[in-house]
Symmetry: C2
């Protein structure tokens, strides 16, 4: 048996797994507090996994996410790109706790396509999870993991070459929660409200059809359209999603193409609702998509790392 | 005598003026609460200007800013572009209060260069003020008024053709006050801290040198540079200013050039510190600048409108 899990800033999710032909098969799952909400991570781990250890004895533990950061249990230094699952298995931060050998997956760092330093911590297991299913050849891919801080990774075979982080998701939340655009709505912004697809498409269409419409010059359209009676307050957050996701995808594609990548297909890994919205923009840009749910890929990534860990220690 | 003033959301500033050859010469100035902080605007006006009216008798009053909005005294409908000071003088919202004829300057509306509705309220007097000093010919200009919601206006002679609003300034404040980038700093963000010009130039250089570096993909560089030890926390807000003002100016220039405007010079109207930063980006882009302080231009604009008002009522 093996314990594998994501332990992020806000949530902990641990799986008790059987190991079958190098794959982790979750048998039981527990949830707990995120790394930032816990002062003693060892105690929190024992509280969550102690019962499993009592029943099955000490076993290897493999954790990913912010648990390996400065706000986590112990800090695992970022592994520089290019990097694949072998390099990751060799760079695990290892120590012992609760009688078990613990391994924490380091995040990845790189110089992104703009020459800037960039980092991820947690998303790398989703990337390796999706890549575990592809041929380990020379094929280059562009993989997007939508989210508050979306990651756009260039990969070759099962190796992550580099990636760039988009802050579009956080910007949108801030604009609606604290800014003029939020105050332009008839009632406070509800992040859980369903997307108005027609309004999303109008916003996305504007930026896709006009490559010169940069996000900072486009956002005010939400307010002026409401003032002019051209947009309802209820539809406005979806219009904004269209504008902002539209710009994120359009600009990511343009930047990668400017560096010689063809970008005929984009792989979208993440929560279904968000992946669908990103997919709509790709459609408009004439780009094919491959979709994968985020949850399964994280465990697949931990499997890929665990398999190489076992090999390394065998 | 005439009372002229800006009465914005957050601040009221009224001037008692002598009228000399059609120009308003301020003799005394009072300040007061902004339109959003006042429940009875007539009482607030009497409290501010009552002494002048007692001493000099009833006189015309000309007000601009959010006082003419839904949160103001009375709502003045936006005047559609193209519009010059004559059209503005003819579109004033007029009523009587405190025994004086009151005139409120309407804001301007337009379809901007991206085909979107856009609005301004308050900035139009600064625009007309600066334009009062140029020849009333066919020359086209690009005028930028930096600020929380910066305006980029295309003008011809003394007429405003259209304008587009950038939300860059507000986005930056939100990111630093409420977002991950603010939490990446060693101490809370201080908007009054002086700009680190070297750090500003690094940020501006990145976006000016790479037209494919869109703002949503560039902002995370602040966090990763701090993590990698490539940027100090103290210099980070200035680096962010460089990235964001750099992108705003670069993208505004590109969008106007894509529509056939040469953009060899940009006129910058506003507060000196901000105008200087915008000017540094223009220099990098090889674009000449003309600078004007915002304060004087607002009164000049009210003068230009008052002159036509008097002519209209003479």
């Amino acid at each position: 048996m093996l314990i594998a899990g994501d332990w992020g800033s806000s949530n902990m999710r641990l799986h008790l797994c059987r190991v079958e032909e190098g794959r982790l098969i979750p048998v039981e799952t527990v949830r707990g507090k995120g790394a930032k909400d816990v002062s003693d991570h060892e105690t929190a781990f024992r509280a969550a996994a102690g019962d499993w250890i009592d029943r099955h004895g000490p076993m290897p533990v493999l954790l990913s996410g912010m648990i390996g950061s400065t706000i986590g249990w112990r800090e695992a230094a970022y592994l520089p790109c290019p990097a694949g699952p072998e390099a990751m298995a060799g760079a695990l931060l290892r120590f012992e706790a609760a009688g078990c050998p613990i391994a924490i997956v380091p995040g990845l760092s790189c110089r992104n396509i703009f020459g800037q330093p960039d980092v991820m911590r947690g998303e790398e297991v989703q990337l390796f999870g999706w890549l575990a299913g592809v041929a380990d050849d020379d094929a280059e891919r562009l993989i997007c993991l939508p989210g508050t801080h979306a990651k756009w990774a260039r990969t070759q075979g099962r190796t992550v070459l580099d990636f760039v982080t988009s802050m579009q998701g956080e910007m949108r939340e801030l604009l609606l929660a604290y800014g003029l655009l939020g105050r332009s709505l008839a009632k406070p912004y509800d992040p859980a409200a369903p997307t108005d697809i027609a309004a999303f498409d109008v916003g996305a269409g504007l930026v896709v059809d006009d490559p010169t419409l940069a996000i900072e010059h486009g956002l005010f359209a939400l307010r002026s359209r409401i003032l002019m009676g051209e947009l309802t307050s209820d539809a406005a957050p979806s219009f904004l999603s269209g504008l902002m996701i539209g710009a994120e995808v359009r600009d990511a594609v343009a930047a990668h193409r400017a560096r010689g990548m063809a970008v005929e297909t984009i792989v979208l890994v993440g929560a279904e609702l968000l992946v669908d919205l990103y997919g709509r923009v790709c459609d408009r840009l004439g780009i094919a998509i491959e979709k994968a749910a985020g949850d399964g890929t994280a465990l697949a990534g931990l499997s890929a790392i665990a398999a190489r860990m076992e090999a390394a220690t065998a």
